[in-house]
Symmetry: C2
Subunit: 319 residues, 2 copies
């Protein structure tokens, strides 16, 4: 069985033919043009998909799955609103189905990735999972009782928009104190810049100079490893807030594991080790010794997570 | 089909024979003696249950369901730890089964109540639900994709122990800033007392004098209705924190409804109306106009919620 996974990003659309073992057999991609009309982009995509299918010789395609950023009505296959893409009320699945004749399912990109990780990734064979993407924002996905959980209209799992500090930092969503406002790469970069400005002698200045000249989400992590105190302070604060968020998810879900993806997850153990220490200190939330532990894992699907996750939306459910 | 529901509370155990329509056909109860050995309490319960079943003439009992406060391993039917009852590692289901020969299922009391509300209560026929009990503490239950969600070992849905204010008020669980530390009746009573001490002219002094002399969770609500400014300030703050918690659950779950139970839910519209206003102001969380709304409901099973919820644990799943 072959499925087409379509991973819509901010600047390009990546497509891949995925078999039922989660392997990508063939890929193609197309750019997103910022000023193109939204229906024209989908028209262009559907033509590319049709051509891709016609030139694909490994067998018939069972269905199409799409991961899309923004607020997605996964019940109707509509992109309700995407801030990055400037799309609204775009019936992507209907348009794709008209062009290709294939059934089409769509979900928020983080939700799709959650399903991919649970089916084929690091969290294979687990029952209850929480996914956090630590990138420009903080995205989330939930896999509960062996199923993707999306909530009403498929618009749930906005895990980055859980307030962890009432009356705290302003968030892009309009509320104050969201996890995203403290734990996205954007937030970490802001904190890093502030620490640098306060500490002219910090190693971070040299690090940034040697790395493109721009402060990124890696600077504080890397300089903390070198023993820079100002950088370590930034990381300690970051881990503290992320730890509070994780403890909340542990208390709410008692998941088997929390899976991290997105840019900052590339730090792997530099992220997970202090985070585990923080969770241990607070005893993995209410219940302390009585609470089952949750593993902390980093996605191993890497750049393919989007395509594989999207394709898995189109696959039949396991049970 | 008849099921026995057992609702274990802090001072008594309430039992009821419940039919598959959720009606209680017959009841009995027994006290909890504070210094009795935990196994002896369960032994006494199982004997009472056996006698109750023998004298019950409406048909055979299909199974037993138990709602118990504390950390419950619902997979194994063990009360892992209950702070109120001073029970630990008590294999209640096994002991009950030995005595009665009936299959037995147990869950945390709020989780059991969640199932009761979803099956027979105010939230019947909904797919995705969040239950919050606003009492001495803040308990929680989750009903997701038409099933009770309990998490690993059945120890999830500790919704009161979601931090909404990092580094905030100390909580009984050891963390700081939990929803429970701001929104339990205990917290409201503390805030009411503080406001009274700051405001000697507040109507709350007379209210308390006229009502048993003790400050309770109703005082601020009732005096705010009379126009007392100090009381209104207490309620505004309470609604603000509860609103932040609810918005978090809406963003995480996009549930069809949030169901309130516990002592403070008796305030009904005095609780729900300002809460709805708060949620509207913050646009029902991320997505604003694009997010599906969640209804706010108050449990209508009242004092029977515990028994009916417990019995529903023993009933076969709907699908």
């Amino acid at each position: 069985m072959i499925y087409l996974g379509i991973d819509i990003g901010g600047t390009s659309i990546k497509c891949g033919f995925v078999n039922e073992a989660g392997s990508i057999l063939k890929r193609f991609a197309l750019p997103i043009f910022p000023h193109e009309h939204q229906e024209d982009t989908i028209k262009r995509l559907s033509v590319a998909v049709k051509e891709g299918i016609q030139s694909f010789s490994f067998g018939p395609i069972q269905g199409i799955g799409i991961g899309c950023p923004g607020t997605i009505d996964s019940f109707c296959g509509v992109c309700t609103y995407s801030n990055n893409l400037k799309w609204s009320n775009l019936p992507i699945c209907e348009l794709m189905n008209q062009e290709t004749g294939l059934s089409c399912k769509m979900a928020n990109d983080a939700n799709a990735q959650m399903l991919g990780e649970a089916r084929f990734g690091i969290a294979k064979n687990y029952s209850n999972l929480v996914l956090l993407t630590l990138g420009t924002g903080v995205g989330g996905g939930l896999y509960l009782n062996h199923h993707l959980y999306e909530g009403n209209e498929g618009k749930g799992a906005e895990l980055g928009h859980m307030v962890i500090k009432a009356h705290g930092r302003a968030c892009t969503c309009g509320r104050r104190g969201c996890l995203e406002a403290y734990c996205s790469a954007t937030a970490l970069i802001r904190d890093t810049k502030q620490a640098m400005n306060k500490t002219p002698g910090s190693v971070m200045w040299k690090y940034v100079k040697d790395h493109s000249g721009k402060v990124d989400g890696m600077a504080a992590f890397e300089c903390a490893k070198m023993g820079d105190k100002a950088a370590q302070k930034v990381i300690d604060s970051y881990i503290g807030y992320l730890g509070e968020g994780i403890l909340n998810f542990i208390n709410i879900f008692r998941p088997d594991a929390i899976v991290f993806s997105g840019g900052l997850s590339a730090q792997k153990e530099a992220l997970l080790t202090p985070l585990r220490k923080y969770l241990e200190k607070w005893k993995y939330g209410f219940g302390g010794a009585n609470a089952p532990k949750a593993e902390l894992l980093v996605s191993n699907l890497g750049n393919d997570a989007g395509i594989i996750g999207a394709a898995s939306l189109a696959m039949p459910e396991a049970d």
